[in-house]
Amino acid sequence: MKLKAIVDDQEHELNVKIEGDRVNAEIDGRVYELELREPEPGSYLFLRDAAVHECRVSKAHETFHVNLHGRNYAVTIVDPKRLRSGQGAHGHHHGLAEITAPMPGKVVRVLIETGDKVEKGAGLVVVEAMKMQNEMKSPRVGVVVSINVKPGDTVNAGDVLAVVE
């Protein structure tokens, strides 16, 4: 199985082979031979030279959240096969970032215009919820391709506020 994985905006080439309890994986040329156990759904227990690594995986909004040794990793998986056959991973095209409202609230300010170039971490839209103002930031460098809200709009959790390409 050949996949791409994106962590912290870095793209990695993955080749994972599963044979029974064995996993052979290659990531950007690094080779891993692992013994795999699955004690419960979403739990992947790796043994590597007797070292124990338990990964807890859950999926939210097209991102796999992996907890390993008390640390959280957000991993996006891109399957080239799916893209080729037109089965885009639910519109998650590489390079396109949707900025969504984390919870119901009200748009206070829009800090950008369509066509603006933005840096990673640049403030895009300010949303007020639970008496707090929250600046929604761009997850990557790019160009604002659409803005779907204006000041005063009420938004629901998951609503797309803006799109950066």
Partner: protein, 505 residues
């Protein structure tokens, strides 16, 4: 002792109080909003009554509905927990008027200590130092300017009816005073319905240290030592410990005596907390305010003193004397508590409600978790985002910190963002380990913190796990004829394996 008690609260504190009820053989009655019907505190209780819709103003703050609920199930007393109606003297009066016992101090004591200006007058009367400031509220800018010049900058503007940091402003120079004064008044009016503000000299590098007191109806007033609560965000505590890393028995004695004096002055009964600011440079302490209820952070005092504060609350409310005297109070070891919030520490602690899709709470030596959530619990936007408290105990502060790190690493919550990653970093921070705490800790910590890169191998393993999860649950399978089935090969393999296991047993 009471036969049946209604708990006018939700979440972890309701669960905590229900546990106290069970140990004493008291029947517990939970109340819940329509949004909380399946929540953990309802599941823990003997009886439960719905008191209204999700919005807390119509449910957990609805005095009439709560008293009607208590009467309908023949409860004898109401425990308010903390937050919601816990410091509302009108509620305490309504409970008493309905012929029930309010588990807390008298409504008069709550009134007296509830307003910051009248509480400061009480402190002065008790001979306890207060931060140089105005006892009366300030009504004009001119008055504010004169007073600020008298104390010298920096000064702090505060809402008289305040709490939770709202209406609170630090003013470092006379240029800022005008705008800050107007803003503090507006914020106070918006948050508490009255614009009254007062002014204090700002204490530099202040530590927030509070003393737990307990008083019964037989004239006994004791203190249970201090809690250090200097690590705050938005003027709200996130990490508390007992004792303070200062661990100065003489200072504890002096602060304890001052707190007991205040309790005696207002004829206090039950559990109460006197908050002080302590200057880290001069070791002078000043009365700040009193909380006339059980505190969120009471577990650290319980771990170090061995007393069960909820149990003592029930005793005192039932008219019994405290089960211990001041001489019985000993402080053994060190306890630290972290408040686990559904908030994003990387985004200014912004609330992060949602469904908890996976939960694994830590356990083992010296670990206590007071939790209000379970697997698949919904963390609602309607209520406080604190989901649980993790408290650890060790013989020394160092041992407690080692346990804290271990317990935080064991703690897993998926589906929502929590403050756990922030605590994991703080527990390894040099200044924290050295006990150099003051209320500016988080601001400085955010400045100096450097993200520690995980070993590259772990990054890779996380990606492999994500890929496996993808193949297990999402990868499409093409069968002959081009039809697509939605189940992944792994899922099907898993099902087959699962069936095999069933057949074997």
């Amino acid at each position: 002792m009471f036969r049946k008690v209604l708990i006018a609260n939700r979440g972890e504190i309701a669960v905590r109080i229900i546990r106290g009820c069970r140990e004493l053989g008291i029947n517990s009655v939970a109340i819940y909003s329509e949004a909380d019907a399946e929540s953990v505190h309802v599941r823990a209780a003997d009886e439960a009554v719905c008191v209204g819709p999700a919005s807390s103003s119509q449910s957990y703050l609805n005095i009439d509905a709560i008293i009607a609920a208590a009467t309908s199930v023949n409860a004898e007393a109401i425990h308010p927990g903390y937050g919601f109606l816990a410091e509302n003297a009108d509620f305490a009066r309504a409970v008493t008027a309905a012929g029930l016992t309010f588990i807390g101090p008298s409504a008069d004591a709550m009134d007296l200590m509830g307003s910051k200006t009248s509480a400061r007058r009480v402190a002065v009367e008790a001979g306890v130092p207060i931060v140089p400031g105005t006892v009366e509220e300030i009504t004009s800018f001119e008055e504010a300017r004169k007073t600020a010049e008298k104390f010298g900058y920096p000064v702090m503007l505060k809402a008289a009816a305040g709490g939770g940091g709202k209406g609170m402003r630090l003013v470092t120079s006379s240029d800022e005073l005008n705008s800050s004064f107007t803003a503090a008044q507006a914020e106070a009016a918006a948050a508490f319905g009255e614009a009254a503000v007062y002014l204090e000299k700002a204490v530099e590098r202040p530590r927030h240290i509070e003393i737990q007191i307990f008083a019964d109806t037989h004239g006994n007033v004791v203190h249970l030592g201090e809690r250090e609560c200097s690590i705050q965000r938005r003027h709200q505590k996130v990490i508390e410990e007992c004792p303070s890393p200062i661990d100065d028995p003489d200072l504890r004695q002096r602060m304890g005596d001052a707190a007991v004096k205040i309790g005696q002055t207002v004829n206090y009964t039950g559990a109460g907390t006197i908050e002080f600011l302590l200057s880290d440079t001069t070791r002078d302490f000043y009365f700040l305010e009193m909380n006339t209820r059980l505190q969120v952070e009471h577990p650290v005092t319980e771990l170090v003193t061995g007393f069960d504060l909820v149990r003592e609350q029930f005793r005192v409310a039932a008219g019994e004397p405290l089960s211990f005297t001041q001489d019985d109070v000993r402080w053994v070891g060190h306890a630290i508590e972290c408040r686990i919030y559904a908030e994003d520490p990387a985004n200014n602690f912004f609330p992060s409600p949602g469904t908890i899709t996976y939960l694994r709470e830590p356990s083992g030596p010296g670990v206590r978790v007071d939790s209000g959530v379970a697997n698949l619990s919904e963390v609602s936007i309607h209520y406080d985002p604190m989901i649980a408290k993790l408290a650890v105990w060790g013989r020394t502060r160092d041992e407690a910190i080692e346990r804290l790190r271990r317990a935080l690493d064991e703690y897993q919550v998926a589906g929502i963002t929590t403050t756990l990653p922030f605590f994991r970093e703080v527990a390894r921070d040099e200044e924290f380990v050295a006990g150099k705490l003051d209320t500016g800790f988080i601001a400085r910590f955010n400045e100096r913190r450097v993200e520690v890169e995980p070993p590259p191998e772990q990054n890779d393993l996380a990606m492999i796990a994500a890929a496996l999860h993808y193949s297990r649950y999402e990868q499409p399978v093409f069968v002959q004829g081009g039809a697509q089935v939605s189940d992944g090969r792994w899922k099907m393999a898993g099902r087959t394996a699962g069936l095999r296991r069933w057949r074997k047993s």
